[in-house]
Symmetry: C2
Subunit: 363 residues, 2 copies
DNA sequence: ATAAATTTGTGCGTATGTATC
DNA sequence: GGATACATACGCACAAATTTA
């Protein structure tokens, strides 16, 4: 070492850094005293202080007067908590999302976390932007609603980067089949089953359905729909099922002739199950326009128990979305992942059928 | 200075920092040499080096061997853009807030910014928590809806810290009288005026009102209410005015007898102006329970044009809140402040009266 | 172009003060 | 109180980079 060209204090720095890196000293262990180092290297105490001083600035050591010099806790540096949680939903203002976000915030803000908000408009491109944005912000965790959850997701690479960085993710509403992760969602199969069973038990034999084709929830609700039919040995008429995708959604709500064509096919139906309340409410009007009165001529069930369900003239029977409760559950789950209490949480919440005017037959 | 208890090197540090802060030296200007400082303070060069060494670590100075000591260019450090914008509202899920947040996000996400979300529940304590949280996150800007805007705000100290750090703030809906800042809000005086004028022109002479007492909007809407009365030489009967504060809000919506007592006072009234749609909708039911039919016996006007206004059986005449538009305006204003295009933006947006069933007399 | 002067960088020795055990 | 360890401070010497005469 004496032949080294580097300044002595640099050599001492390297020695101490190596000593710590090799694990010979752990965080908060006491280092040799300044005197001891001076003797060992046959240098002045001043030079030792110079070396230690720089290591303190670089975060390797800390000193306490009268006690000694100690190894700093580097974990605190690298794993520094940002107290930021990313929350990405498909939409922001419509419907159930404000409630979900409120539920999430309720739990997180109590623990001192702040929400970083993003939304994808159910588009992969926007999802990618959101994810990349959040990746730069040193999140402690992420709660995200998948975009078009049944399609293969082109942003899995970014999800992997979150995983590699040890940032826990909780999916809500659905998950991607090609990415194993925690999720909190309502049990949509059970929901579809409960809605259908309710109609069947009210005596309906021919039941139509409108389902979304490009997210997990749509498929699951249909699956429950099928399950209930099987249980009661009823057949499903394919003509009575209307599938739509995210892009078709506007047409479904706005294009009257499109909907009327579908209604014309439903001559023998006395029940209709709609993917969500928004569509159900829309169908109430569309059916009335054809002289079909709800619930007299046709019973209608929606999903989500949104505000819409309770505000029209005909209150809507609906499978209640847990909304705030789901938000709270997702948030508490994420906190458990962050704190290391649990490794992976996959939870399905039981839906609740709320019966109102649109399926009451007693008038 | 020699009588000072602080170590000499600390005193030298303070001297140099002040010298720079006062603008006597600009970035890359040469500082006194170590010898010169030692002579000036009658201390050893070693002590001067200690002071300078720490200032180098703190980012104030840099040294070049053989040349001298120079003032560092701090701008690169402090003005680093985080691309984070704080958004704090009173409430999250109810009513108009999802739309406002959506409008804000629409503009900001386009520019690559991400929203940090918080809400205050209209409580000072929660507002303080939110603000402190965000202060730690190196925001580029803040959009905030004041909490109980007419009361003296105990968190002004934190707002000042934002100002000192050069983080621009845009208030929405209201502002604090003791803190000068940019704001974007609807013109509530004009809104109150328009609502009242509408009723007066429909022939109503005795008009009741329900107003919120602890936010700027409530006072402003009442002010417009007064202004319209003056213009038409009508007197206001104090018995017909019901004031409520944030704490009373639940009672106003849930305590039937409380509302009924107020309604009993309104024998001669044929018009009612409500602080917002939520209250207006509630009053529709309360009036009906007393056999007073809207609009036949009493015309009702709300504020905000929320979803509630359009969904009941009796569609509500209401002064439209710009919602998304206000969000977008607040966001673009904040961007202008961040980019330095403008210094201060104080904008009032014109409200729009939307006439519906609750004030139509033609049936 | 070179030498001298200036300025920072490294290093040693010493002394005294202050906190901890 | 005494021993130990860090904190502040002075003075000196020489090396290396830069500027200036």
């Amino acid at each position: 070492m004496s032949l080294n060209n580097e300044p002595k204090y640099i050599q001492v720095k390297e020695f101490i850094k190596n000593y710590i890196s090799e694990g010979q000293l752990n965080p908060d262990d006491k280092l040799f005293s300044e005197h001891e180092l001076a003797n060992r290297f046959q240098i002045s105490r001043h030079t030792v202080r110079k070396a230690i001083g720089e290591l303190i600035n670089e975060g390797w050591l800390y000193q306490v007067q009268g006690k000694g010099t100690f190894v700093a806790n580097t974990e605190g540096e690298t794993k520094k908590k940002s107290k930021l949680i990313g929350v990405i939903t498909t939409y922001l203002k419509d419907y159930i999302f404000p409630d979900i976000i409120y539920g999430i915030d309720e739990i997180l803000s109590k623990e001192g976390y702040t929400i970083l908000l993003g939304h994808t408009n159910n588009e992969f491109e926007k999802e990618r932007n959101c994810l990349l944005n959040m990746l730069n912000n040193n999140l402690d965790g992420l709660i995200i609603e998948p975009t078009k959850s049944v399609l293969p997701n082109p942003n899995i690479d970014i999800y992997e980067r979150f995983k590699n960085r040890g940032i826990p993710i909780v999916f809500i509403h659905a998950y991607y089949n090609n990415f194993k992760a925690s999720y909190v969602m309502e049990d949509d199969i059970l929901g579809g089953y409960m809605a259908t069973k309710h109609l069947i038990e009210q005596g309906h034999q021919q039941i139509a359905g409108i389902f979304k084709s490009d997210d997990m929830q749509g498929l699951a609700r249909f699956q429950g729909f099928v399950q209930a039919h099987r249980e009661y040995n009823l057949t499903i008429n394919e003509k009575y099922i209307l599938w739509f995708s995210s892009q078709d959604f506007d047409r479904l709500l706005l294009d009257d002739t499109y909907i009327q064509r579908f209604i014309h096919k439903l001559k023998n139906c006395t029940g209709l199950i709609c993917y969500n309340d928004q569509i159900a409410i829309n169908m109430l009007d569309a059916l009335r326009a054809q002289g079909i009165y709800v619930p007299r001529d046709c019973a209608v069930v929606g999903f989500d128990n949104s505000e819409l369900a309770q505000q029209g003239e005909i209150k809507l029977t609906t499978v209640a979305h847990p909304k705030e409760k789901l938000g709270r559950k997702a948030a508490t789950s994420l906190l458990e992942l962050i704190n290391g209490t649990k490794e992976c949480i996959q939870e399905k919440m039981d839906p609740e059928l709320i019966m109102r005017d649109s399926t009451q037959n007693d008038n």
